[in-house]
C-alpha cells in the first residue's frame, strides 16, 4: 500500500511528525509497536536543562546556542535555533487544539518540575496541572506546602517527598507537611484497595461525587496552604479538568506530580496525540512492527512488517522514529551497536568496555546514551557511508545527545519530528509541482 509519508515509531517524535504531515494533507501512516516512552514520562517537555558542564540552565535557548557551538553534531544542530523555536510554538498551538495546553514561563526561561521523590528538575513546557515554579531564586508566594496522598495508592510516599523537599535550599523557609487521606470504603471498589496503581485509583476518582468528597476531605486535612502537591491520579483522560474541579471545590491551589509508570500525564499526552492523528485522517498501524526494508538506488523502496507478509508498504518519504535501546530502535550485540531495522550506520565503533561507566548511578553520563544513527545535515540516514535520500531519522534514535543528563529528550523529539515533517512536505509538494509541469 502506498503512502506519501510513512513513520516507523509512534512515540512523541513519530506522532509530532505524523500530525504535521497529516495537517499538510499528506497520506501519512505510523507503524507503532506498542505504547511508547510517553507512558513512562513526566508529561512535561524538557528542552535543555543542563549545559555540557552539568550546570543548571535558566535560559534554554542561550544554552542551545552554546551547545551548538560546542557540539555541532548534536540533533539540535541539524534543526537550528529558529526552527526549534518554530517547532515549539507549533507544538503549543497543537496542544491547545488537543485541549491539553502546554505552556512555558512568561520569561521563556526553564521552570522547575517537582518529582514524586521531592526533587526539582528543569523543564521547559508543562501542562496546566503542574507547578511552573521558577528555576532560580526563592519562592516568595509559598509559605506552607502540603504533600497529599490517597491511602491505597502504592506508588507514592508523601513523607519521603516531604522530607526531600525540606532538604532543598529553595524550600528552607517553607513549611512542608505530608498528609494521607482515607476515602470511605464505599468509594473505592477496587478488589485490592491497598495496592492500587495510578490508573486503577483514577478509575475510582474520575467522577463528580468522589471529587467533591475528596475536596471536602482535602479542605479539612490541609487547612491553609499555598500549594498542595498530589500524585497524578485523578483521571486518565481528563486530568486538567478534574484537577481544576478539585481546586475550585476545595479553594486550594493544587498541582500534580508525575508518578511511577503508568504515568498519567505522559499517557494523556500520548492519547491526545494519537486521537488527533486519527481525526486528521492519519493511518495508524498498531499491533504490528516493521521488520525490514528494501533499499535500492539510494532510496527505501518498500517496507515489510512482521505480521503482514502479504503486502509491502511503500512511501515516497520514510521516517525512522524507532527510539533508542529502551524502545528497540537500537540494539546492543556482544560486540557492536546496531540500528535494528535497516542496519544503518551508527556513531560508535567503541568496544563494549567503553559503553557504560563502571558505576551505574554515579551522576556521570553513560556513553551508550549518546549512541545513535549517523545522519547527513538534513537528518537523512546513512548506510555504508551513503545517504538514503528518502529516510529521515528523528527523536532518540539520533545520537550525540545525552537526553537524561541534559534534559533534552522532549525538545529533541518535537523539534526533529517537526523539522523532518517540514522537509517532507516541501519535497513532496515540489515533486507534485514538477510532475504537474511535465
Amino acid at each position: 500500500m502506498k503512502f506519501d509519508s510513512l513513520i516507523i515509531g509512534g512515540g512523541l517524535a513519530g506522532l509530532v511528525c505524523g500530525i504535521r504531515c497529516a495537517q499538510a494533507g499528506l497520506k501519512t501512516g505510523i507503524v507503532s509497536r506498542g505504547e511508547s516512552g510517553l507512558a513512562f514520562s513526566s508529561g512535561t517537555i524538557d528542552l535543555l536543562g543542563m549545559d555540557q558542564q552539568q550546570k543548571l540552565l535558566s535560559d534554554p535557548f542561550a544554552g542551545i546556542e552554546k551547545l551548538l557551538f560546542e557540539l555541532p553534531e548534536h540533533p539540535y544542530g541539524k534543526v537550528g535555533l529558529t526552527a526549534i523555536r518554530d517547532a515549539l510554538s507549533w507544538f503549543q498551538t497543537l496542544s491547545c487544539e488537543m485541549k491539553i495546553p502546554y505552556t512555558h514561563r512568561k520569561d521563556e526561561k526553564n521552570q522547575n518540575r517537582i518529582t514524586a521523590l521531592g526533587a526539582l528538575r528543569p523543564t521547559y513546557l508543562s501542562p496546566a496541572t503542574m507547578t511552573h515554579l521558577p528555576i532560580a531564586g526563592s519562592l516568595p508566594d509559598l509559605r506552607r506546602v502540603a504533600v497529599v496522598n490517597i491511602e491505597g495508592f502504592r506508588d507514592f510516599q508523601p513523607e519521603l517527598a516531604c522530607h526531600n523537599l525540606k532538604c532543598l535550599p529553595e524550600f528552607t523557609d517553607i513549611e512542608v507537611i505530608s498528609i494521607s487521606l482515607k476515602l470511605p470504603d464505599e468509594f473505592i471498589s477496587n478488589r485490592d484497595t491497598n495496592a492500587m496503581r495510578s490508573v486503577e485509583l483514577s478509575r475510582q476518582l474520575d467522577n463528580d461525587t468522589t471529587i467533591s468528597l475528596l475536596a471536602e476531605k482535602l479542605k479539612i486535612a490541609v487547612g491553609k496552604a499555598d500549594l498542595v502537591l498530589m500524585p497524578s491520579v485523578l483521571s486518565q483522560t481528563y486530568g486538567a479538568e478534574r484537577l481544576a474541579q478539585l481546586s475550585k471545590l476545595s479553594g486550594l491551589r493544587i498541582s500534580e506530580l508525575a508518578t511511577l509508570p503508568p504515568s498519567l500525564p505522559g499517557l494523556r499526552l500520548s492519547e491526545r496525540l494519537q486521537q488527533h492523528f486519527h481525526r486528521l485522517g492519519g493511518l495508524m498501524i498498531s499491533g504490528d512492527k516493521v521488520q525490514s526494508g528494501t533499499i535500492e538506488q539510494g532510496k527505501i523502496q518498500s517496507i515489510l512488517t512482521h505480521g503482514n507478509g502479504q503486502m509491502a508498504l511503500n512511501a515516497e518519504q520514510v521516517v525512522l522514529a524507532s527510539g533508542s535501546f529502551m524502545s528497540g530502535g537500537l540494539v546492543a550485540d556482544r560486540h557492536c551497536i546496531r540500528e535494528h531495522i535497516f542496519n544503518l550506520d551508527v556513531n560508535t565503533q567503541s568496544p563494549r568496555t567503553e559503553w557504560a561507566n563502571q558505576k551505574f548511578l554515579n551522576g556521570k553520563a553513560h556513553a551508550f546514551a549518546s549512541f545513535g544513527v549517523v545522519t547527513d545535515p538534513h537528518m537523512r540516514a546513512v548506510k555504508d557511508g551513503k545517504t538514503i535520500g528518502n529516510l529521515y531519522c528523528i527523536g532518540s534514535v539520533l545520537g550525540h545527545a545525552q537526553p537524561v543528563e541534559e534534559g533534552s529528550a522532549g525538545g529533541i523529539a518535537i523539534s526533529t519530528g517537526w523539522a523532518a515533517a517540514e522537509n517532507i512536505i516541501r519535497k513532496i509538494s515540489t515533486n507534485k509541482e514538477n510532475r504537474h509541469v511535465r
Binding site: M1, G34, R191, V199, E200, P262, S286, G287, G307, G309
Partner: protein
Amino acid sequence: MSVNLALLDTTFDMCIKCTVCTTKCPVAEIQPDYPGPKQSGPDGERWRMKGEDFYDEALKYCTNCKRCEVACPSGVEIGSIIQKAKARSGRHKPKIRDYILSHTDLMGKVATPVAPIVNMVTKIKPVRVLMDKILDIDGRPSLPTYSWQTFRQWFKKEAPDQSVFKRQITFYHGCYINSNDTTVGKDLVSVLNAMNIGVQLLKKEKCCGVPLIANGFMDKAQSNAKLNTEQFREALEGDSECVISTSSSCSMTIRDEYHSLLEVDNRELVNRIFFFNTFLVKEFEKGNLPDMKPVNIKIAYHSPCHLIRVGGVVFTLEILRRIPGVELHMLDQRCCGQAGTYGFKKENYDTSQAIGAPIFDQIDSINPDYVVTDCEACKMQVESSTNYKVLHPLSVLARALGVSK
C-alpha cells in the same frame, strides 16, 4: 486434553511491569473486580507456575479483545497467556449456555432449517425471560437471527457460474455468513466477479475457533483448526490463488492463533490466507479497479479490536477512501464491548454495555447514514444498542459497483 498447554513457555518474562496494558484494557476500566491484563497475564503466570491454587477466577472477565497485546511495548502475548491459563486452570467449567453460544456452526446447522421460527421465538419476551433465567443469556440484547437459506445453499443453487473466470480464489465464509446473514458473502462474490475473479468454497469448513477459545473449548477449537488447515492446504494446492475471509476475528484467529495458541502449524500457508481488505488493496494497486458510482452516504467507521491487533485497519480505510461519495467519519478506536459471545452473557451484559457506551454516544453525535465495520460481533452490538444499521465495508463497495445484493 490433547492441546499441549503445559507451561514451558516463559515469554511472559519479557514483561517490564510498566502496566501500560492495564491502562488500555476496556474491561478493567469498567469492572473493578478484574485485576487487568498485567496482573492476570504475566504477573499471574509466575504464580500459576507454582501451582494451580494461584489461579484467579477473575480471569473469566477477560474478553480476549487483545488491546493489551497492541499496547505492550515488549511484545508479550498477554491475551493468549490469559486464554491459556483459563483453559488450563479455570474451575469455572463451560455451561450449556457457553456451549450454545460458542458452537456457532452447529447452532447454524440446527437453526437455519427452521430459521423463521427460531428468529420469531428469540424475539418473544417470555422466551427471553426464560433464556435469561435458565441459560443466563441476557434478555436485553437482540440475538443473532438465522437465515432461511444458508450461504452454501445459495452459492450452490443461485450463484452465477464461477467457472467462466480465469482467476479463482477460495472463500472461507465462516459461521455468521453461512447461517446468520448471507449478505456479505453474496457481496464478496459480486465484487470479485466485477473484478473478473471467480469464487469457490472449501469442500467443507468449520468455525474458525474464536468463540470456542473464548469459552474454554480448546480441544474443539484445535480440531476445527486442523480440519480448516487441511482444507486450506487442499484448496491452495488446486487452482485457487488464495483463501479469503471477510470476518476480522476469523482472520486473526487463523493467522495468529492456530499456530501460537492451538499449536496447529499453518505458517507455510498464512501468507496466502487473506483478509478481504489486503487482497482488494493489492488488486486496486495493480490496476484491477472497477468503475464505481458515487454512493453518497455518510458513514461512521468502527475499528474492530481484532483488526487493530493485526494492524489491518488502514487497508479497510484505503478501500473506503477510494469509494466516491463516501463521507467518512472515524470513530475513536475503543472496544464496542460485545467481544463475540461475551455481551450475550447475563453476568457480562452491563459491563459490555458500559464498555461500548462512549462509542454509542459518538455514533449518535455523528448521526451517520450507516455505521461501517468489518466484524459481525461489533455489528450485532451496535445494531442492538443503537438505532443505526451497520454495513460491512464490502457492502459499501458493492453499492458503488452497482452489484449490491
